[in-house]
Each structure stands twice: as C-alpha cells, then as structure tokens.
Subunit: 327 residues, 4 copies
C-alpha cells in the first residue's frame, strides 16, 4: 500500500484523487491546496486529511509519494522539496514554463529517477497498443507520425495568460507523443494562427501546426486547435515501411445510425480528457505505483519532461520568429 498526497485540488487533482481511491494498492492520505474550501472538500470526499501548505506534505510521515498538480510555476520547487524529503513524485506536465528552470531541476536531481512526469497519453490503451505494436515491428520501420489533438473549447483568456502559451500548455502532450515514438528530434518548425480573438489578444496562438525531423530521418506532424466543434479530437497515425497503425476517436457507445440522409453515424466524439483519458490516468497511476513499490526508475522521466519542454520552446520560437529551429 502506497500512501499518497496530492498537491493541488483543482481539476487534475480531482482526476488523480478518483484514481487513487479506486486503486487497491494506494491510499489517499493528504490533500494540499491553498484554498481551504477546495482542499477540505476534496479531502472529505475521499476520506483524506488536508492542509494548506505544501511544506506539510513533505514532512508528513503518512506520505510515501506525492502527486503534484499545483500551478506549473511551483512544479520545480515542489519536485525538489519532495525528493529532498525522500518522497516519490508524479508531476503534472509541463515540468516548468521556463526551460532554464527545468534544466536547473534536472541538474540538481542528477541521477535521481524517482520523478515521473504525468504524460498520461503514453498510458492510454489505444496509444500504448500502437506503441507496442510499432516496437514489435508490425509496421516495419516507422517513417512518419501524425498527431492530431484538438480541444473541444478554448480556455479562458486568464488561463491562457498564465499557461506559457499553447506549445507548453497543450502541444506539450503531442511533443511527448512524438518523443515516445521517434528518435531524437533535430529540427522543429511551427506555424500558428488565430480564430479566437481573446487568445490572440494574449499574444498566443489557438491553432498550430508543427513539423519535426529526427536524427534518424523520420518526420512527425502535429495538428492542434484550441476548439473543436465535434468534441475532443485525439488521433494518431504511425506510418511505416510495412503499413500503418492509427487511433480512431472514442465515442461513449457503439451505436450506429442510418437515416434518410446518412449512414453509419456514430454519436459525438467523447468530450474531454476526464472522459477520454480516464483509463490512461488509471494506468498511469498503476505504472507509478508499480515503480514505487518495486523501486524501479520512473518513466516517463523528468528528462522526458525537460525534452518535451525543449521542443515546445523551440516551436514557440519557430512560430514567432518564422524560422526552422535546429536542436
């Protein structure tokens, strides 16, 4: 049984709390959030204690592992404190907004492998099956990767303001997917546009396309949009010398409809990550707990978090300065 504290009782904190509660090898012992009402509420729902100050988490004897779901600007501080206190860490993406800060965290931790980055999509059953089958050689040599990721609706301008921009906030998941499948990326080019005036006013893009090339001569393209009328569009295609494997979107049921005007219509694509990735979060926790309990190195690692951030940083420069970035 691993005793877990969650820092941050917001949306993602609640997702993790639910996964922990349902997991037979985990116990939720402590919820930490600066807003008392939020902390208290989530703690009550899951029979956990609560606190306002993260320092309490790190000194607690009742905590073996910490899930960090605090705002990104605190991630590095919380990671370092947790590791210093001997806790295992599962930290939400991105590791930091500032690449130098992520680099500092990496260098301070040296060869410590007790930090896992919360790239949940690696654990999604559909994406992980494709990864496994690619690794097993089913499509021969992987040559091209296409990642489509569109959110159902744009975040508020306030959120955007503190998000670090679309590449670090949203595309970061897709950069990790590209790194999950491909070898080292050596070139990045990105273009961005706006359909959302509020996001444009923040100086951020709400639609981007990114192309990446690896050292081994493979290419990937990422297609993003902050809005998508038909739901949470999460697809991927791995193309290789012997074939292709692709991920369809998910729907809540397997109903098809034929009417006077159309045929084979499925219902709407699942709406957002809480539904779409419920299994991914559960399996991510599984993997985290297995690593904790068997004392194995975490994966995706802090370095994976740093490298994804590096790609996000490069893409941001590329899109804003209009040039291809070589890494």
């Amino acid at each position: 049984m691993t005793r877990i504290a969650i820092i941050g009782a917001g949306r993602i904190g609640r997702v993790h709390a639910r996964s922990v509660l349902a997991h037979p090898q985990a116990e939720l012992t402590l919820i930490c959030d600066p807003f008392e009402v939020t902390a208290r509420k989530l703690a009550a729902e899951h029979g956990a204690a609560w606190c306002l100050d993260p320092a309490k988490v790190f000194v607690s004897e009742e905590v073996d592992a910490v899930i960090i779901g605090s705002p990104t600007r605190f991630h590095v501080e919380h990671i370092l404190a947790a590791i210093a206190a001997g806790k295992k860490v599962l930290c939400e993406k991105p590791v930091a907004l500032d690449l130098a800060e992520a680099e500092r965290c990496l260098s301070e931790l040296g060869d410590n492998t007790d930090v896992m980055m919360g790239f949940n999509r690696r654990f999604d059953p559909t994406f992980s099956e494709i990864h496994r089958r690619v690794v097993d050689g089913e499509i021969g040599d992987l040559q091209q990767l296409t990642v489509v990721s569109r959110d159902p609706s744009a975040p508020l301008a306030e959120y955007v303001a503190g998000s670090g921009g679309i590449f670090k906030d949203m595309t970061i998941h897709d950069f990790d997917m590209v790194r999950f499948f491909l070898d080292d990326i050596v070139e990045v080019v990105a273009m961005g546009t706006n359909v959302d005036e509020a996001i444009k006013a923040e100086g951020d893009f709400d639609q981007v396309m990114v192309t990446l090339k690896s050292a081994g001569g493979r290419m990937a393209t990422i297609i993003n949009s902050r809005t998508c009328a038909f739901g949470y569009d999460q697809r991927l295609e791995a193309f290789g010398s012997e074939g292709a494997l692709s991920a369809d979107n998910l729907t809540a049921t397997a109903v098809r409809q034929a009417s006077r005007h159309q045929s084979q219509a499925k219902s709407r694509v699942m709406d957002f990550f809480l539904d779409r990735y419920v299994d991914a979060y559960r399996l991510e926790l599984d993997a985290f707990l297995a690593a904790v309990q068997e004392g194995r190195p975490m994966s995706p690692s802090l370095r994976d978090g740093y490298e994804a951030l590096r790609l996000a940083d490069a893409a941001m420069v590329s899109a804003h300065e209009g040039r291809i970035i070589r890494l």
Copy 2:
C-alpha cells in the same frame, strides 16, 4: 462479337441495354416490346432495330443471344422458343410464377445448359468476393448465413398484384443467395407482416423473415422489407467456424462527417439496384458472353432458377399457413 436481342424494354431491359452497349464483345441488334414507342425509343438510343413481336426475335438471323426481360408470365414461353431457335438465353428472375410451369420448362429442356438465370447478385463484386473467400476456406466451415434485403420504397399495388407475391418477386434473390452459399435446403419457415396497407389489401406481405436449414445442418435467415428509409439495404454475413465475412452497404462516396452531434457519418446508402448493382449487371453480362463464346454451360442455370422458385413457393405456403415446410 455476340449479337444480342432484348425482349422487354422496361426498367430492367434498359439496364441490360446499357451493359450491352458498353461491352466490347457484344452488339445490341434488336429490341422487342409490345409498346411501339417504348421499343422504338430504346432501340434508337442504342442504334438497334426494334420489333413488337417476340417471334421476330427468335427467327432473326441477326441474333445470337436473347436477354429476356419480359413480364414473368412470358418467361417460360420465351425461353423455350429461344432455345428451340438455337439462341442462347439470359432470363430475368423468376423463371415463372407457377412452380409447375417452371418444372415443365426444366423437363422440356432436359440437359440443355444454354439458359442463364439473371441472379445478378452472384456477380456483385462484394458478394462474389465473399463467396470466393468462403469457398477458399477463409472462415472454415460455413455455419450461418444472414441476408438482409430492403428496398427503398414499396412498389405500386398494381405491380404487387401481378408480381407473384414478395417471396417470388423480391425474396427470390435472397433465396438464390442462400443457395449460392449453402448446400441443399431441407426446411423453410417464413413469417410476414404489413406496414403498407395497399400491399396488405392485395393479400401480400411487405415485410418477411425466413429461416432455412440445409441438409448439412447449416442455417440461413433472410430479412426483407419493401420499404427502407435509409436507402437500398443490401447486406450479407457468412459466419463460419473460423470467422465471418460480411458485406457493408455501399455509399456513393467515401466522405465522413463529424459535427456537434455525431461522428463518422457517411452519406446515404445507395438508393436502388440501378446504382447499387451496376457492376453486378455488367459482370453478369460478362459471364454470359464468356459462356456463349466458349460454349460452356450457363451458371446460374435454369435449375437454379427453378430451385429458388421452389424455396419461394415453400416460404409462401409457410407464411400463409403458419407451418414449417420440409422439402
């Protein structure tokens, strides 16, 4: 080059005329229809001669083969006359409305194999691919066959009155499909209902379900409706010990739509047999001409026509008398 006459310039006659015109090994020489305006029009469109009296077709020196698309009550007469005159015959289904008449035709012709029955679906690329793969053993032993056949809209009551009833007019194609895939049928049971009052008034059903069992212990079910809001529903599933092969409906294009309310919607299913089976009619003519030119026995044969009619007859008795028929 095979010189072809068509008897009957109605809907099905036009389909055949178009196929003949497009075929490099066939020449359309004569159109016969009791309605001069109809005969003349179709003949003019295809550069053929025309006549009102079928007798002219049989004595013509310009005709090697006859496609019989006349009303069903003339089929046997036209088949016998054509064969007597040394012509090859492609006859539309059903061979007759009356089983005894079909039997007489069969016995008069003895071992003559120059008559092909127009069971076009055997030549549909999708159905014939399934048949070939079943024969090749891909699904192991065939055990269950499901045939779904629904027309987009019900025929006029006048048509129904002379049609011989749904089993001989519509289900006849499905009985042939069952015979195409299965061994000899030994049991038939059918149920019928009505959603169309005009058809009910004619004493006919407009929706039927038929179950059949073969000597080898295989079963088939046929699901029919005279109306189908979403188009011309033509599907089939062959289920065997190692898997299943099934035929989707066809749509005019490969467009998919995702909207606020649904995903993966294809356009409407193709509307009727002229569109759905255009390739089947073309390939049927191909097979007919190949048999003519190589002097090979025709398939599906007159006997196939008789046997399908026998099943239709049994199903009609079953549905009207409420009992299982043993053949």
Copy 3:
C-alpha cells in the same frame, strides 16, 4: 448505504461482488456458497462475512438486499425466502428452468415488486442508448429487430446438461431484448443445429435461429451460436419506418491497422461477458440500488423473467417439434 449479500460465489457472483465493492452506495456484507473454500475466498477478498447455508442470509440483520447467483434450480426457493424475510432481490436469469415453477413463484408473490431480474443487457450503454432513441421516436415506428448473440466458446457438456438447454440458458437474454423493444409476442418459431458433438449428445442445440412476431405486427429474429471464433459477438439492429439504429461489437481499443493485405482492421472483438458487459453489470446494480433506496418497483421485473422463460419454452418446443408456436 444498502447492505448486500450474494448467494453463489461462482463466476457471476464474483462479477456482482466486484460491482458492489466499487459502488459508493453499497456494502458487501455476506457471501453464501455451499463450498466453504469458495465462499471464504470471495468473502476475504471483499472484506465480507461468509456462510454455507442460504437460510443464514435471509435471517441476517446485516442484509438489506440479496443478489441471487445460485444454480437456477434454487432461484425460486431463494427468491421466495428472501422476499418473505423482507429483503430486496436481484436474481440472475433464468428465474427457473421449469415454466410452471416460475408461474408458481409469480402467483405466490402477487403484486410484490421487490424482485429484479438480472437481464444485464438492458443496462449496457450501447443497447440502452438504442432503446432510448427508439422510444424517443428517432427511427419512427419500430418494425424489425435483429439480435445476434454468439459466445466465444461452448460450455462443457456437464454445464449444458444442467442448463435447461440453449434457449433457457443463452437465448433467454435475447428473448428479454426482444421483449425490451417489442410489444407482446404472439408467435415463435425456432430452428436448431449442431456443430458441437458433445452438446448434440446432450440432446441440446448449439446454434439456433428464432423468429418472433408481436401482436402489433412487428418481427424479430435471433441468431445464436455457442461458439464464435472472433470473440463474443453481441449485436442488435432496430429497424423502423424512419431509419435504423445498430450496435457494433466492442473492441478493447480504437486501433486500426493497414497492411499489405488489408485496411481498417480493428483488433479482436472483446472476448466474453465479464469484459463486454462490465459497465452493464455496474449500471444494473445502480438501477437496483436506486429502486431499493427510493422504494420503487423493480425493472426488469419477475414477470419479465417469467415472460422471457415462456418464450424460451415456446422456442424449445418449436425447435424440437418442428412447428410454429402461438402464445
């Protein structure tokens, strides 16, 4: 919080135990099974007490509701005892093997509505969505229903011997589906065949096709097989005057593959009911607990259990005597 006892710690008992454990409004208090090792093991896994004698369940003060997963021959006895003791009941299908016994149970209970029958498929998200959309009028008047149900592999001959035959053991679910969608059934006809010699030796069929007609002139067909190479085949099509709604099979992930030989290949269909219907069992328990807690009549009811058995009985007579049964 509803305190639940489970009678029968076999396969289906375990399914229910897992659902109860995961349910926030339910507590598993007692497991009853005549085999001590089985009872003790399941109880230990879920922190419940255990007993060997069902009588202990009915007198227990710690039990509000009983889930009956004992062998079918004990269902009626356990239902009557539980109701007499003031417990609520969720009973697995079928209610009995003998129709007269089911009828007796029904008449003894009179207007008691505290028994729910475990027709889990009514709660499957895909099937229940189709049902809701049919009720909402999306396909106009429902006219034809097709239910396909094939198990991945045949049960042992010993199981078959005590199962009451395929119609009462397996098709019973499909009869309930037909009743869920259609009005009162007035005619049943069934045919059966064998591909499994061991089942044949028991005098039972392993493949059946059933056609049913309702008082309102609707038809349904059921296609069953005890074996299916490609997994647990669970499909349904509701056809109406304005269109059709159908249920695809489920696969574990949304991966598609394109290779040198094929395209759009999904992985294998889910293998059996523990996977395929995990949500259905959970939602069934939800509905049961809601009815318990709100004191509402249960649905599907004991009468639903009786009526499905009546259809199974009729189908068995039909298949064995070769005649259409009128109800």
Copy 4:
C-alpha cells in the same frame, strides 16, 4: 461531338483514351507519340489515326481539342501551339518544370481561357463532394486542411531524374488541393527525408511534409511518401468551426472480415491512380467537354497550374535551404 487528339500515348495518355472512348460526346480522332509502335497501338485500339509529330495535330482539321500528355518539358510548347491553332486544351500537370517558363506561357496567352489543367482530383467524387459541402457552409469556416498522399511504390530513378523533383511531380496535386480549398497561400515550409537510396542519389526526397498558411489565416499540411505498403493512400480532412469532413481511402469492395485475431478488416486500399481515380478522369473529361461545347472558361485554369507550380517551387526551396518561404 468534340473531336479529340491525344499527344503522348504513355500511361496517362491511355487513361484519357479510355475516357474519351467511353464518352458519348467525344470522339478520339488522333494519337500522337514519337514512338511509332506506341502511337500505332493505342490508335488501333481506339479506332483513331496516329502521327509522330505534334505539328500534325495542330494543323489537323479533324481535331477540336487536344489532350496534352507529353513529357512535361514539352507542355508549354504544345499548349501555345494548340491555342495558336484554335484548339481547346486539356494539359496534364505540371504546366512546366521551370516556373519562369510557366510564367511566360501565362503572359503569352493573356486572357485566353481555353486551357484546362489536368488536376484530376478536383473531380474525384469524394473530394468534390467535400469541397461542395465546405462551400455550402456545412463545417462553418474552414480552418485547417490535412492532405495525405502516398504512392504505393517509388518510381524508377530515371523517372525521378526528369521529374522536376517530388514537389513538382507528386506534391503538385496536393498543392492544387490546398488551393482548391483555401484562399491565397502566403507562407510555405517543407521538410524532406529519404527512405529510398536511389531517389536520394538523385538529390530528391521521397518523403515530405509541407505546411502552408493562407492570407486569411488558415493552415494546411501535406503528408507525402513515394512508397506505401498498404496501397495508394489518398485522404483529406477539412476541419472547420462547425465540424469536419474527411475522405476515407477506397477499397474495391465492401467486404469486412472478422477472424480470431481481428475484426472489421477491409481489403487492401486501391492500388493506384488508374483504379482510384477512374471516375475522376471521366468527370474531368466531362467538365472539359462541357466547357468546350458551351464555350465557357476552363477550370482549373492555366493560372491554377502556374500557382500550384509556384507553391511546389517554394516548397522545394524551403526544404533544400531549410527556411520558411513567404510568397
């Protein structure tokens, strides 16, 4: 009836010859090819005259319109000569290998609108249906376009040497598709890689990814490969504010297979453009003949040919020099 000459009796010339032969409003009168055996053979097959020298085509009284399928380096010369002789022209893509030459052709012809460029995909039923539905507003404002185009197998190195490179030879179709859907392109960036050593040795890429931005702030991405194990991969997705429309690949039949290992498998994707775009070539000819017979301006126009070439040129510079090109 429009009398047509074809210059170039190679692969694409044969495609057009077949379309012309099957068209009721067209007559194939003359085939021109420098290889006598090739010219003679195609002419004989279609009952046309033949010649070795294109000059004969332009002076012929028997020719109303010329289909130019000669090697690309002769396109401009043949276009200018045909127009000077008063013929209508359907010219294969690209208009030239050299942008300046295409520009010269455009300026010489001034406002002449009698030249149609052979961008056959605009006429493909699936792509043109998507275009029509986008124009009709079905997906709101078009925001992102994804074009996937992969050939089943790489051309010979000799062909590559004279092809002008992948962007002008293959991607040119996709550039036209982007222009068909989007407003004026203002930015282009391309990356290329090699999996084929022979093509690499020619200094060309065999896999490319291109991103484009329009004046109106829309983006498109093109994914190309000279080889594709699973067939001729031709897909497109138009994403807009209200939804998306996408084009599936085509298969020869509608067969699906379920086996022990997978489900819903369709057969292999159609293999190459002769099969995949047979309808597109036919409908392209339809549009050409309609414009000829009604004296309407041709579309896609010579300017469309020039603009697509301009994008190809920009992409080539981008990929070779590693920079974003602004137009």
